[in-house]
């Protein structure tokens, strides 16, 4: 039931991808997106996609999981592909019927755009969603954005709020589940009747849930206070992040990929593979 909802798509593991410093992963993701947009011929963008596909075995993520999570975005990919297919009027006329004319450049452009979206999604999810725990991610974000605190942006507070929110999502899901079961045991009925009746049926769930949220928040605040929490000032960490050789190797790899893409872009292509 509700326990089937997974938070993000984090897949615990110990692969090289998992071990990269979260700060470096954020930087790498930005660089990777730059590389994807640098690739502007079909050959180079395919090369980038191949690269990101290789990340799947490196990160040790089951192929099925990856494909399943790409499914909701399939519609956007196909839709953009079709628009490009019909609206690009360049190259050789391949076929035409009624008002639709399909040109060779259109086909290439459609494939190009689909591959680009796929590469963009696959690479960034492999780097961030699958292999970085949400907590590590907020940690990395906080430290990357730390310089902003000099211009009075409460970076630490935002990060702490995000961490607490993430921490409590599973707890609250479990709590909701429990309260729903308990009220069902007393004959509550959530699935029949008019809209107003159904909305009213939710009161026995929301009131205990709100109460428990407030109770938990109160307990957490007291517990934090007891450990002398007073914001980010002077706070040290249990797990101090250090850049390791692996991080620089990953950085070098992405830069090399960028350079390669630059040269592959220059490779002359036969006419039918040109986009415009």
């Amino acid at each position: 039931m509700m326990s089937d909802i997974t938070l993000g798509q984090f897949f615990p593991g110990n692969s090289p991808l998992h071990r990269i410093d979260p700060r470096m992963k954020l930087i790498l993701t930005i660089l990777y997106i730059v590389v994807v947009f640098m690739a502007d011929t079909i050959v180079s963008v395919l090369a980038v996609l191949l690269l990101s596909v290789l990340l799947i075995p490196v990160g040790n993520i089951p192929l099925r999981t990856v494909l399943k999570s790409m499914k909701p975005l399939l519609f956007i990919m196909i839709f953009t592909g079709l628009i490009n297919l019909f609206w690009t009027k360049d190259g050789i006329l391949v076929c035409s019927f009624w008002i639709i004319e399909i040109y060779s450049a259109g086909i290439v452009q459609a494939i190009f755009i689909i591959v680009r979206i796929a590469a963009l999604l696959l690479g960034s999810t492999m780097l961030i969603s699958y292999t970085t725990s949400p907590i590590a991610l907020t940690d990395g974000m906080e430290q990357l954005l730390a310089p902003l605190s000099r211009i009075k942006i409460p970076v630490h507070d935002f990060a702490m709020m995000m961490t607490i929110a993430l921490r409590f999502i599973p707890t609250l899901i479990e709590e909701t589940d429990k309260i729903m079961s308990a009220q069902k045991a007393r004959g509550a009925d959530f699935s029949t009747g008019s809209i107003i009746k159904r909305a009213k049926a939710l009161i026995p769930i929301f009131i205990p849930l709100f109460l428990s949220c407030i109770r938990r928040a109160d307990e957490l605040a007291v517990a934090m206070e007891c450990r002398c929490y007073n914001g980010g000032k002077g706070k040290t960490r249990m797990n101090v992040l250090h850049y390791k050789a692996l991080d620089f190797a990953a950085l070098a790899l992405v830069i090399v990929a960028g350079v390669l893409v630059f040269f592959v872009n220059k490779v002359p292509l036969p006419v039918f593979l040109l986009t415009k």
């Binding site: 069902k184 045991a185 007393r186 026995p204």
Partner: protein, 291 residues
């Protein structure tokens, strides 16, 4: 003896097809006898809570069937709601599910869902409140103003007011002081005596089970380790200890005294029984000493 609830070769698997796959229950077959108090005991994660949620159809077993007086409760989905009125389930920490403005309305929530008429609801609320020992002065109060023990009793009364044939309670006394515990168990036994219903109690405490249960089901790692009347179950004291479940302290004390050569009968689970068995022995000793 008539069987109230029967689990037949029941299994339950969480998160099939993911890395988090766990077997909560595997191949459990147990019978709950009608009119008796059955205790389910076991460690955290032994499948107790999953098992009790199956008894009123909140969780559907992955395989196997659950029978209430012989009929499969999952046979007709539309009847599940009626099953929940016939098998009343009190969750752990039930006071966290209170939500109404007044104590009366909260106890009446279940009976109202049963579409009973005003008069019958009032009769049931009053009866349930008196069973758990709640004063009628409290009826107009908000349940959130009450003490922890009172809240717990309101929540339990809310289930009792549905007058279920089987009352199932998950750790009904956890987190209460000794007096509160006694009151809760007394209320449960009173309910059984007043309605002739069947009671199932989940608990960690062997002491409580020894005092209040007739039959005991011991769960271990999603399997039923042993079940039967408490005398039989406590005979396996050695194995229970190996599992990390203790027999009542007084029972192990009696076992040790017997090992030391005192003539104490087997099957002593409560301090009262122990006193009854020891007193004549001590008097005899005092007399034999030739005072």
């Amino acid at each position: 003896m008539e069987t109230a609830i029967e689990l037949v070769d029941v299994s339950f698997v969480y998160g099939t097809g993911t890395v988090f796959r766990t077997d909560a229950l595997s191949g459990v077959s147990v019978k709950i006898a009608k009119g008796r108090v059955s205790g389910i005991i076991g460690h955290t994660g032994s499948g107790k809570s999953t098992m009790v949620q199956m008894m009123n159809g909140l969780i559907k077993p992955t395989s196997g069937s659950v029978r209430l007086f012989g009929e499969d409760i999952f046979a007709d989905k539309k009847k599940l709601r009626d099953i929940r009125f016939r098998v009343g389930l009190v969750f752990q920490y039930p006071e966290y599910q209170l939500f109404e403005e007044t104590v009366y309305k909260d106890i009446a929530y279940g009976p109202t869902n049963m579409k009973l008429d005003e008069k019958e609801i009032e009769r049931r609320v009053k009866k349930a409140a008196s069973l758990v020992g709640l004063d009628e002065d409290l009826f107009s109060k908000s349940p959130f103003e009450l003490s922890g023990g009172q809240k717990r009793r309101v929540a339990i009364a809310g289930i009792m007011a549905m007058e279920p044939e089987v009352l199932v309670l998950d750790e009904p006394a956890s987190g209460l002081d000794p007096v509160g515990r006694k009151d809760i168990f007394k209320a449960i036994l009173d309910f059984r005596d007043a309605t002739g219903g069947t009671v199932v109690i989940v608990s960690h405490s062997m002491e409580d089970m020894a005092s209040y249960a007739d039959d005991i089901i011991v769960m271990n790692h999603g399997k039923c380790f042993v079940s039967g009347c408490k005398e039989e179950v406590f005979k396996k004291a050695d194995e229970l200890c190996k599992m990390g479940l203790d027999v009542p302290q007084i029972t192990s004390l009696m076992t040790r005294l017997r090992a030391m050569g005192m003539e104490i009968p087997e099957g002593i689970y409560t301090v009262e029984d122990a006193a009854k068995a020891l007193l004549p022995l001590l008097l005899q000793k005092a007399g034999g000493g030739g005072v």
